[in-house]
Symmetry: C2
Amino acid sequence: MALADELSCLLGRRGWRSPPNCQPWQRDWLNQSGEEPLGVAMPASTAEVTQILKLCHQAQVPVVPQGGNTSLAGGSVLGESGGVIVSLSRMNRISSPDVESGTIEVEAGAVLANIHSGLEGSGFMLPMRLGSEGSAQVGGLISTNAGGSHAFRYGMMQDLVLGLEVVLADGQIWNGMRNVQKDNAGYQLRKLFCGSEGTLGVITKANLKLHPEPVQHVTACVSLPDFNSASRLATSLRREAGDFLTAVEFFSDFGLEMALAHIPTLRFPFSERAPHYLLIEVSSSSAKVPLEDILNDVIERAFDANLILDGVIATSLSKRAELWRLREEQPEGQRLAGPQLKHDISVSPGRLAVFLLEAEKICMSILPGVRINPFGHIADGNVHYNLSPPLGQQSFAGQEAEFASQLGELASEMGGSFAAEHGLGRTKVWLADRLRNPVERRLMTNLKSAIDSTRNLNPGTLTASLKLVRPVI
Amino acid sequence: MALADELSCLLGRRGWRSPPNCQPWQRDWLNQSGEEPLGVAMPASTAEVTQILKLCHQAQVPVVPQGGNTSLAGGSVLGESGGVIVSLSRMNRISSPDVESGTIEVEAGAVLANIHSGLEGSGFMLPMRLGSEGSAQVGGLISTNAGGSHAFRYGMMQDLVLGLEVVLADGQIWNGMRNVQKDNAGYQLRKLFCGSEGTLGVITKANLKLHPEPVQHVTACVSLPDFNSASRLATSLRREAGDFLTAVEFFSDFGLEMALAHIPTLRFPFSERAPHYLLIEVSSSSAKVPLEDILNDVIERAFDANLILDGVIATSLSKRAELWRLREEQPEGQRLAGPQLKHDISVSPGRLAVFLLEAEKICMSILPGVRINPFGHIADGNVHYNLSPPLGQQSFAGQEAEFASQLGELASEMGGSFAAEHGLGRTKVWLADRLRNPVERRLMTNLKSAIDSTRNLNPGTLTASLKLVRPVI
């Protein structure tokens, strides 16, 4: 029997889609990549995942695991037609949290927003916050080691994963569903699977670490004369309000302009525009902390030092949400404004100001007039360094790879990363091959071969496939 | 030229010791294992480490990296004579901290206590605290993924490592000395090397993440009628003082008795003895937090609920140190009391009370009258479950492996770990082979082969060597 028929028999009508009914899974979120699959498998259990992987392994047909398909690097779709997409979306059970231990067990297809809402009232939260939480699934979040706005305080996904269940390329199950922070009985497999982008196994289940839900939040937005001031304010915040600092997000006036122009429901909180803005949030799980007072203090001293032009503080839920939208709608504003190039850079927080200066010089020398929209997470040095074409133009004059390469090189020279949050996927493998040293790339290829010896899982993602990898940006 | 002569020429008089001058490095801290080496290499630079590894690789002579040699699992000494111990102790440079970014660069041989003292006055700290910090070195802390008393709040060593430099088995250098929290450009190599116990490479340098130094601490010690009460109090503390909770350490009256009997400088703070004790520490980097008030509140409510028998609160440095010694001298008290068996268990914090009940039953059935001294880190469920022989006896009647096996099995069944902090080393490899599923052990063997294909680095540690591995406890 042909593989498609076998899978169809195994999984039934709800569990198997053949072309042309694969469209919602076939293309990536940016609609930049994704070839036609043999079909989309939608298993309902770990046992079914095992069967799927066994059959595909026998037939040597590539498998790409897919969660919410919100990846920005093309790692959740096929680079060549004919493979099988395994969508985990039907495996979406969320257990009751263990409130004595502060943990929760979830299946890979659980949507992040559903975990958040399920935890309401439990006194605990999963501190993973990002724009796509309405569709991002746990398996994808783990596979891409998601970061988001709260990572500075609570860590990335790898810091929240206590245990994992993973189906390996040949269908064997690794049951690593332990439930403890401390486990030094061998190599840190659970960490290795975080960020492995579906190239080592299909994550089916996880035990996650929860944190106490804060009982109070204070959110502020300030406008600043230059990025240096933002950087100095962030340093003060880390030092003086570090126990409470949930987010320090920055965005530029150009980004704000695009967001305000295309998203009419946004409200600008100041009387005058300024070059830069910071969104600051502090929170505490103790009601006895004078949170507003602590934040006010840092901000007032920044005013006195002329680091800040204007500022607003919000404590109510609705006002806080209004301020957050200014930052969160940055990607959508730029998307609606037309063509764009996305880069996902990190450098150490103290060097971010220097990076932005140097990066601007590089961009202007590659394509004079290109418009720069840097925004992101200042406390951990992560900048989404997005570009729009020069005014009146609709393209980047074929310089896409040049931007990625030179900006990535600058970040690397400064001890940073050219793929901070979004991973390599398919679109940045060539960049890793160019910017990371050969020893590192060889280590990664060896790891891949050690765990997926036939290179059946998500080939072309993360390490170079055996075939030539070309820039696809 | 013979390998010993080549290494001697390369490293000079300060850099090479031959038997019989290898004693200080040859045996482990517990004096339980360690065969005679060909010699001890003490390189002064990464370049020298490279040369050593190249020569040993060519000669196929095993290499064991060694830091402060405070391992409790025999992973820093030789299982068979004739290998080379590489002591990193001369590579001990500590850079000035980067206070803008909150990071520090250190060489592998830097002693933890020296890093702490070097950071005094900088406003930052490295939140890694453990009994052996006067001799433990960074390379060893990373290789064993050290935990310690502050891990609940700040994480284990893997959570503090931003970048690494590692010399691989064949002498090639992996330069992963990046300086950022967010780096998703491929597999998390830096995490994989944490806890790899010298079996994948020799760590020579690291960039570490610092945290703001607290400006206030409050330490309390309370006595409790039973472990259940300790567990319930710890849950309240995590929920209501979680932002500030640096340590929640527990110990038993039996442990206290041994410590008081053998360490006369200890002071018992209560008028009456009790079955259990908790040492609680909260700290904040903001002076505006009413820390004592917050802690008092939780403790008073615990009094009202009859969870606590007595309590003292200390804010002065000397009083705090006095309380800490009660907990920190537990291992030394037991060592001085005579023969002991150490087990290093973790289960999720909410299940620790059940574990202790079940574990006691197991111990009593194996050797009636055996005396149990559980102490450790209640907030992350980590218990050092140490045993002394029944009163009047000097041995465990040959039941050593049976204790390890049955206690480890209980922890595993509860979703925990039988090697929470101390690693597998040489002494627990057989236990991992017995208690961890074959798929997991195979993944680990494959990883080892992928990175150290000739199995030259620390053979017999972590994964089984090609030879038979026997219980060595």
